[in-house]
Subunit: 697 residues, 2 copies
């Protein structure tokens, strides 16, 4: 099926169904755009009332076109489109772009209309972009099926958007700025072709160097992750997700009619697939431009060349926030710099050549820095000065850096005086920002991507084999209970090799005393009851029992408190467990996301998660390397690795996360499972699940 | 002295000393700028070699000018300026702007030159701006002593900058954009007139509605805070501090030659004085514009009017990040909206009028929302569409909102198509952003300022009276020790009413046993030694001693470990203290900042401070309201207020912070004092300093 997608971008012929002769109509705009940017295929306006539009003879229907039609662009009232689609099928049209709205985005009736259309398209083997979109642009074939004013320059950015308006806004931003696109694709309601299809297609498009995507929702999260993980090994995907907040999600769902799903799952999926998520439309454009124009930075070192201290300081602050540092220039480099600059110039990094610095001085400083191997990314900064010519300085940037293989990003602080210089730099593949603070974010996105690419791609399949076989029995014996407490969850943990705390289930004080003796003090008491899921809320836990006298009183007070708090609960004795005094407690959980699948969670729980948001997520299946990265993202992970002086058994934690992921992959009926706490002992001593619970489908 | 400052902005006459007849020289540019923007005073170029420049007769020296000279702008080689300054003094010049560099920023020799100049200026009563600056602009008097290309429009923003280049870049950004300035002031090396002087002056300038400042360092932190606290009660100060990171600080100090100081102290001082600190030059301009153009938002509610869902979703996400919410529109409001919009329009907030929405629909929706009282800030969004005219839509925004008293910020996504509409909106005092995500930050700055203004201004003087008197004795008895341990710090805490743990100093096991009996178990043992500041590192602490047997072994092991770890230390017995099992431990500290004074610190310590940065700061003196805000800023404060179920004695914590602040104000020889931990008991039970240490000057 994927091959068909090329008809959207390189059709031999295009019919515009609903083309109008009235220049105030959008459909006229589409025909005009099709005609004026060098598209070499045939163009057939379909309009029963006109003889010709813009010099193209009109046809009453697509069937009347005397030649083959590869692509139809349809802009007609929603209720007419089903018939037109059938006509397209009869004609042998390969692909349709349905511009018109009036479908799913309007509610029930529209949704029905869209479903009928979907069935028809599928029957006839026609691929559809839209409905409710603004069309697409391929700058290399000259195809432009949008009514957007202006054509982006040729370039390496493929822009894919679930919002037509964002396409329009973006084109308006980049027009005449020297920023080039390979494709611009508005996907509308994604009745057929989705963002994932497009990403898969663009991966193989030789003109596309970077895929920039604006996304509101992804329907098949699993497939997205598989495709994105593959594509990001070839070229970067930069993505802006709208609707991340509750307000934003409301805004998204009200206008697309689609459910946004868990935002944490989205961000986790992006991160894990190597997709670079940005938080603003400005960053989406800036980061995409940098990926298109420049090689990836080799490290987090940068050198600043400036004619003013202030903007260099702001740039430095911005670099620091994003983990970039100013490279130390050697004494030798500095001495060499002094030979060609103002004697008062600063040759420490930032290299401040002072206000009067001209193109010669910029060229000299860049040349010196490039010759030396110690400087990393090159960041020339110019603040317009009365006697300095921005274009001449821009030419120096271009001339000196074009053979350097270094990453270069320029900052030209201003607007009116630097327009021409900025255009020139962009045309020569040097990205320009007009505020210095933007550079840090761009560079860190590039370096993150480089580091991601350097990770081995890993074996992500989880094959549990025998564990799964044994566990099938466990699940087959289950009644229809949905909420399983510790006692019922423990056998499954055992089957998957997760160590649980040594303990005994007892039903009276005497047995409890004996059990405690056998396990050895200190011990813990926990209530056992099918009716109590949160034992601590029910007063059903007693910790740190040191001797038998203490045990007796704890046993009695526990039963009394539980009976008082949960008078309805049927009690089934207590669990006596060995208490571990040392070790750090963490939480490991799995919650199945409807869209992306089993989402694993790691953190220290309590205020660490709630107030400090110190928690990390991954979506199973995943490999051990990825699990270790997951752990290391958190302060909890740093604590386990010795932040407070003691090293804990991180490998054991990773194994538990892996086992939980495996369980979730093996048994889709598990909706949630949580080990809370997992007691992590010192290095090589293991980790023990002290409590656990599970929710089944 | 402050009165003299008006000569910088409204002089009756200006001499340009060093004016050149060569249009390629900066000094020619200054004369040109002075001549061309409506300045009505007299202009005297001083140039011994030319007869006239730009039609103004030249004078050989300032002494030769036949009339009074209020202001001299000096642009000459550094070594000539001292003599010129003396001539200015003889002539009775009131104020000088020294453009030339070649002073402190170049190192020792330049510094000496600047000091001589400072003495001379002071002797002659001349106020100086600079050296090493680009001059100033007063748009209302038409005075422009800079060589920057272009004159900002008249407006309410006074821009004060310690970087001349930032002034130039900013003017380039706002020129022809309809953003207006009252003043633009480049301060250079601040030999005499400082940012604080300017802020004080601008507070009384009727044209200035908001002060925007770019700052690299502040020399007199205490005065800055006093002035800023007063000024921010009248008008907002928006400030960008460069050099916040290590790299940035290096960049700043290398080009100004001034030490940046503690960045935490800067941010604390800004926050506490009601100064709105922003993190980028873009925000500085956007936030200042919004303050100038618009009233403050009444609350954190907003309503979005849009012709496209995508940008509205991005805007909503941006609002959410900054604590703003979409207002719920009542059923009635929504019904009324439906009567005038596209039937498919979304009347929930965001109000999405769909792609075809024109000026009439925007006007209608704004009218409805303004009539209803439930909508808060108004945020109209336009994405350029083929058939919609941005200027007409902008006119609708202006017409409908001008009498509303609501805060209005418009978003026009794009660049080329919206230039004209943007200019029109700015000229009519509606701020425009071209990326939707920027609005949240702007609004939250405005609301923060509103909330600050609503706080009572508070009695910040700390007058300890009798406490101080008694403590004078404590300090007078001190030897020359700089590092004081717990035993020596405790008496001072007692004097200031800070409860310390009940304890006894003993010198042998028998006395220790007796002491423990008297205090009641559990107890704590701590080593006493002048040579040991960090007791726990030395193995000098034993916790949770439950009975005498435990005490005996703890006593012996403590002495053995300390002797082993610190063989050189002279031991002076142990401290036996009551142990408190319940309660939360926090840290309270004071560290004197060389620039801003006594900086108080509150947090939970350990990884909470180091990894989660959960710590808050204030600079003494300060009042109780401010101390409670300080506590509430942290998660530690939320824990004390019951986050984990138990309420602790926050008032007691506040009293301890207050007492520490008072101590620091009373005795400037205290460099640092730390109570770590302060054990906070349950509500109304108090708080107890368990350990403390102090560093004296």
């Amino acid at each position: 099926m994927q091959d068909n997608l090329s008809f959207f971008f390189e059709p031999s012929s295009v019919a515009v169904i609903g083309a109008s002769a009235n220049p105030d109509k959008l459909s006229y705009g589409i025909l005009k755009n099709l005609s004026q940017y060098g598209y070499e295929g045939k163009i057939f306006p379909i309009n029963p009332k006109s003889a010709e539009i813009l010099g193209y003879p009109c046809y009453k229907s697509v069937n009347d076109v005397p030649e083959d039609v590869d692509l139809a662009v349809i802009i007609l009232p929603a209720e007419m489109i089903l018939d037109v689609l059938r006509a397209c099928g009869a004609k042998g049209v390969k692909a349709c772009i349905i511009i018109s709205g009036g479908f799913k985005e309007l509610g029930e009736e529209g949704k029905k209309r869209e479903e009928q259309m979907e069935i028809a398209a599928h029957e006839m083997g026609i691929r559809i972009i839209g409905p409710n979109c603004v069309g697409n642009v391929n700058t290399y074939s000259g195809l432009n099926t949008t009514f957007i004013k202006g054509m982006p320059a040729k370039g390496g950015i493929a822009f894919v958007s679930q919002s037509g308006a964002v396409c329009g806004g973006v084109v308006d931003h980049i027009l005449n700025e020297g920023i080039g696109f390979s494709h611009l694709i508005s996907l509308g309601n994604e009745m057929d072709v989705t963002e994932t299809d497009m990403i898969e297609y663009l991966a193989n498009d030789p003109e596309t160097k970077v895929i920039a995507a604006y996304v509101e929702s992804i329907r098949d999260g699993g497939r997205f992750m598989r495709v994105a993980s593959r594509v990001t090994r070839q070229k970067p995907i930069v993505l802006l997700k709208a609707g991340k907040s509750e307000s934003g999600a409301k805004a998204v769902s009200s206008h697309t009619g689609s459910l946004a799903g868990s935002q944490t799952a989205y961000s986790t999926a992006f991160h894990q697939s190597g997709v670079i998520e940005v938080d603003s439309l400005r960053s989406l454009l800036q980061v995409a431009m940098a990926f298109d124009f420049q090689p990836l930075p080799e490290n987090n070192q940068a050198v600043i060349f400036t004619n003013a201290g202030g903007p260099a300081a702001l740039l430095s602050d911005g670099l620091d926030v994003h983990g970039f540092k100013l490279a130390d220039l050697t004494e030798e480099t500095q001495q060499q710099l002094k030979t060609g600059l103002n004697p008062a110039a600063q040759t420490m990094n930032p290299i401040d050549m002072l206000g009067g610095a001209n193109e010669e001085e910029y060229a000299f400083a860049l040349r010196v820095a490039i010759e030396k191997s110690d400087t990393g990314t090159l960041l020339p900064v110019l603040v317009p000065q009365a006697l300095v010519h921005p274009v001449a300085v821009a030419e120096a940037f271009i001339r000196e850096t074009e053979k350097s293989h270094r990453t270069v990003i320029a900052c030209m602080v201003g607007k009116h005086s630097i327009d021409e210089a900025k255009l020139l730099l962009h045309q020569n593949r040097i990205p320009v920002v007009d505020f210095p603070e933007d550079i840090g974010k761009i560079l860190s996105a590039m370096l993150d991507y480089r580091l991601y690419r350097e990770q081995p791609s890993g074996q992500k399949e989880m094959q549990s084999g025998t564990k799964k076989k044994k566990a099938i029995e466990y699940f087959s014996r289950k009644d229809d209970k949905k909420f399983l407490g510790e006692a019922e969850t423990r056998p499954l943990l055992d089957l998957y090799g997760i160590r649980t705390v040594a303990g005994m289930h007892t039903h009276n004080l005497l047995d409890t005393q004996a059990a405690a003796e056998k396990l050895g003090y200190p011990v813990v008491l926990k209530i056992v009851s099918n009716d109590i899921l949160h034992k601590s809320d029910a007063g059903g836990i007693r910790l740190d029992i040191r001797d038998q006298m203490h045990l007796d009183s704890a046993y009695r007070s526990l039963l009394a408190e539980v009976k008082d708090k949960c008078p309805e609960a049927k009690l089934e004795g207590v669990l006596v467990e060995k208490m571990y005094l040392e070790g750090e407690e963490v939480i490991i959980g799995m919650k199945r996301d409807t869209n992306f699948g089993p989402m694993l969670m790691f953190g220290m729980g309590g205020i660490y998660v709630e107030a400090f948001h110190d928690v990390s997520f991954r979506i199973a299946p995943l490999d051990m390397d990825e699990i270790h990265r997951m752990i290391d993202e958190t302060v909890a992970g740093k604590v386990l690795r010795g932040l407070r002086g003691t090293m804990y058994d991180v490998d054991a934690v990773a194994s538990v996360i892996h086992a939980l992921g495996q369980m979730a992959v093996d048994f889709t009926q598990i909706q949630e499972i949580e080990i809370n706490p997992l007691k992590v002992l010192r290095s090589e001593k293991g980790a023990i699940a002290l409590d656990a619970r599970m929710i089944l489908l």
